[in-house]
């Protein structure tokens, strides 16, 4: 692959890498015909981010001859590539070439005063992990200018690890989340809430509280703010992953984060989520059509109390694996109660970008030291 970026595009590219560095230690460069994708996954496999730059983003974008049927994904160390994109003030043009035989990526910066900086990085070929997230199946969707989300999170200190996002027909609120009970007494609790009117798009299918890692999201928010792009949030009940995305004509960025399972409310019916394909209600129509959901939406318009969900326990994990056999997230019409516990889907990149391979990675939140064993299953390609 050979591509050239000019001036401002280099800065945007650098900012994307910077956002990805908040997620994982490795960066995957994935040149495709639809554009160059940059992906990163965190070590616990509970956070995934992808920036896709369409060919129009580049001054020149050529996939090499070897990229015919074979996809070459280059895995680079974040700490090798991030420093290269730090000081871009004098950069006029940047050229990136992936040289498969040598396993090297050549990044050249053409700067002012005729200075050229060439960097040769070694990459590892790997199968890119791509989270398959069916955002169209999410019952809850929010869309707001990046500034609004930025203003929401600014109430929380930079050191805040996790926050809980709650949605009801009347309010959207955020509060900080702490797991350990030792410091329970000394923690400062912050909560902020907004009216649905502040969002460009507000759709609530199911009232929920989701807890996810804020730190991993900040990179995307700062990228979105610098490009003045609106951010879309797709999510469902606790335990299901949440997806934050921005897009414009020439790029798309997505961050998918796992959420903590709310094991304190076992009554939370899994059925709610299977029936998700039905038309989710808009905020004005509070009562859901589907009978299966009637139980979950309380009559009162109170904010759902923070569940402070406990981390995943092993029994739940086994339950997850047990349900893996059911091909959910692909068929819409089935009413089989799909597991609501699964949080992130991964599939091995296949040449055909096949639809929905039932590959599942369990949610294992970073904080939980115990749950370091991440189970991942890869189905063979079709």
């Amino acid at each position: 692959m050979n591509c050239v970026l000019e001036g401002n595009a280099v800065k945007a590219f650098g900012k994307a890498i910077h956002s990805l560095s908040r997620i994982g230690d490795e960066l995957c460069l994935d040149p495709m015909s639809k554009g160059l994708a940059l992906r990163s996954v965190n070590s616990a496999h509970s956070a995934y981010a992808c920036f896709l730059f369409s060919p129009m983003f580049f001054q020149k974008y050529n996939l090499g001859p070897e990229q015919g049927s074979e996809t070459v994904q280059c895995k680079l160390l974040m700490k090798s590539i991030l420093p290269l994109f730090r000081c871009l003030a004098t950069v006029e043009r940047c050229q990136i070439q992936i040289n498969t035989p040598n396993d090297r990526v050549k990044i050249q910066f053409f700067c002012r005063h005729g200075i050229t900086k060439t960097h040769d990085l070694c990459f590892e070929e790997s199968e890119a992990l791509q989270a398959a997230f069916a955002s169209h199946l999410c019952p809850n969707v929010l869309k707001a200018p990046a500034r609004v989300l930025g203003e929401m999170v600014m109430h929380f200190p930079v050191s805040q690890e996790e926050i809980t996002l709650s949605i009801t027909p009347l309010r959207v609120s955020l509060r900080n989340y702490f797991e350990g009970r030792n410091d329970h007494m000394k923690i400062m609790y912050t909560e902020m809430s907004l009216h649905p009117d502040e969002f460009d798009y507000f759709q609530i299918g199911v009232e929920s509280n989701i807890t996810f890692c804020l730190k991993e999201l900040r990179g995307l928010l700062s990228f979105a703010e610098s490009h003045c792009l609106p951010v879309s949030v797709h999510f469902g009940a606790a335990g299901k992953p949440v997806c934050f995305s921005v897009e414009d004509m020439i790029l798309e960025a997505t961050v998918v984060l796992s959420t903590l399972i709310d094991s304190e409310s076992p009554s939370q019916p899994a059925e709610t989520l299977t029936v998700a394909p039905r038309t989710p209600t808009r905020c004005a129509d509070v009562v859901p059509e589907s009978p299966g959901e009637a139980a979950t939406v309380p009559a009162g318009m109170e904010l759902v109390a923070s569940s402070q969900g406990s981390p995943i326990e092993d029994p739940a994990l086994l339950l997850l694996l047990h349900h893996l056999s059911e091909p959910h997230y692909q068929e819409r019409a089935n009413s089989t109660p799909a597991s609501s516990i699964c949080s992130l889907l991964f599939r091995a990149k296949s040449p055909e970008s096949g639809e929905g391979l039932p590959v599942l990675a369990c949610c294992s939140d970073e904080e939980e030291a115990e749950e370091e064993d991440v189970m991942m299953m890869r189905s063979p390609t079709l």
Binding site: H155, M185, K186, L194
Partner: protein
Amino acid sequence: MKFRGKIIDVACLNHFTRVITTISKLTKMCVLRLTPLNLFFVLSGKVANGGVSMWCELSQENFFDEFQMEGVSPEDNEICLEVTPENLSRALKTVQNARAVKLKLTSKHCPCLTIAAELPTLSSASRLVTHDVPVEVIPRRLWHEFKEPGMPDFDVSIYLPPLKTMKNVIDRMKNLSNFLVVEANLSGQMNLKIDTDLVSVSTHFKDLGNPPWGAEGSQQGGPSPSRDPDAMARTRVDIRKLQQFLVGQQVNPSKAMCNIVHERVVHLILLHEDVSLQYFIPAVA
């Protein structure tokens, strides 16, 4: 015990936030005393904080539009809370553009000072922000530790040079030595000196002026009129404590002065329009 306060004026909120931010830079934890007329932030000199003590007094009506409190009992109409000022500062900083900020004593997972505000937005609805800052109630039997410090029997009282200048000087001296000698006389001269095996540095300030009570003396009849105006009173202090005091100052005070008790303590007093801050740094051997 009850406490509710409301700040509506933007300038008052701003000023209040700045005062608390200054306090947060001076100490990690302190005691907040609430009385019907005042708020006090107190740090009592204990070995744990190197003997440094602080007393900050605010008149509540200069900041709050509404202020209601009910103390522990009618005779002891006061509330004493131990709080981390940094939490308060952080909470207040996020609500600077609020229409109104309410502070109240609540009981959530533990006793808390809750800061609640409504933030205006472009749409008709407003945003609600709530911060619950955990506090610890101080029992009455310990209240004697947090009384207003008396004016010490000082030897010299002098106005301080511009705080920024002092800070620059002390920042550089800090790299050379851990201890600093502060000395001043009744002729408006002040010296900051460090002295190590390798180097000694001294910065001289003159024409600073001495507060009028310097001549009359303190309550105990302090520096006698017969004190030689050129005689220096000096105290050797830990330089980091002095630096910490200066780092926190965000606004230029209307009056800044320093009382020195020879080889005992340096007493710094900053007076703003509606806030007074006193800081005591003990001498080191």
